[in-house]
């Protein structure tokens, strides 16, 4: 299927790559279907909505930041990244990770109610 994205222009991909998000994302509960995009060696994955293709979120694998981060069976865990023109102001949301089970084509977001996982965690250090 083809979608017109903001970041990558027109994308053409097989429907088997569509991920179901039965509850959507917090604040975007109406979006139930996404595709996960990774271009070459780019640092971020992109979670692009199928229903509203102009909506996409950069994701970063949280296991790189914290080896002890709560995992879920058969899923990879990502954080939603808030980009910024100043890289030192780029933050990742560790409070509400996105779990993606690529084999099961399923995704969901959870809130981890622990103080050491902030909503705005600086992704980079000098």
């Amino acid at each position: 299927m083809k979608i017109q994205t903001h970041q990558f222009g027109e994308l053409d991909f097989g429907e088997e790559l569509i991920l179901d998000f039965p509850s959507g994302l917090f604040g975007f509960e109406q979006l139930k279907k996404f595709v996960l995009i990774k271009i070459g060696e780019e640092l971020f994955y992109w979670l692009n909505s199928i229903e509203q293709p102009e909506i996409a979120f950069p994701l970063f694998g949280i296991s790189v930041i914290d080896e002890n981060f709560p995992v879920e069976k058969e899923s990879e865990v990502f954080g939603i990244v808030t980009l910024n023109r100043d890289p030192m102001q780029v933050t990742i949301n560790l409070k509400a990770p996105v779990y993606i089970n690529q084999n099961g084509k399923l995704g969901y977001q959870k809130i981890i109610d622990k103080e050491n996982y902030p909503v705005k965690y600086h992704l980079f250090v000098e």
Binding site: H6, Q7, L25, F26, G27, F28, L43, I55, A56, F57, P58, V64, I65, D66, E67, N68, F69, I80, V81, T82, L83, N84, R85, P87, M88, V90, N93, L94, K95, A96, I111, D113, N116, V119, K120, Y121, H122, L123, F124, V125, E126
Partner: protein, 84 residues
């Protein structure tokens, strides 16, 4: 909004499955006990609001393409814990 008055140890039951019990009341705090099926997500309102705001901001900022990243290190959480 439905407004109910309850006393300590009294409950509210929602949809036959979700029970909210008033445990204790002090000047500024009310302690609630909540029993619900595991698929029901229970969140503190302000945390949910913070997360929603952050996701919206991430969406708006995603329209700004990031300038090529200089050599930056990933800010690891464990390292931070060791240092502190």
């Amino acid at each position: 909004m439905l407004i109910l008055t309850r006393k300590i140890d009294e409950e509210i039951i929602i949809d036959s499955e979700i029970k909210i019990k008033i445990i204790s009341i002090s000047e500024n705090n009310i302690k609630l006990g909540i029993t619900a099926p595991p698929n029901i997500e229970i969140l503190r309102g302000e945390i949910y609001e913070k997360v929603v705001q952050s996701t919206r901001e991430a969406f708006f900022q995603s329209k700004n393409s990031l300038t090529p990243l200089p050599k930056l290190k990933i800010n690891k959480l464990n390292k931070k814990n060791e240092e502190s």
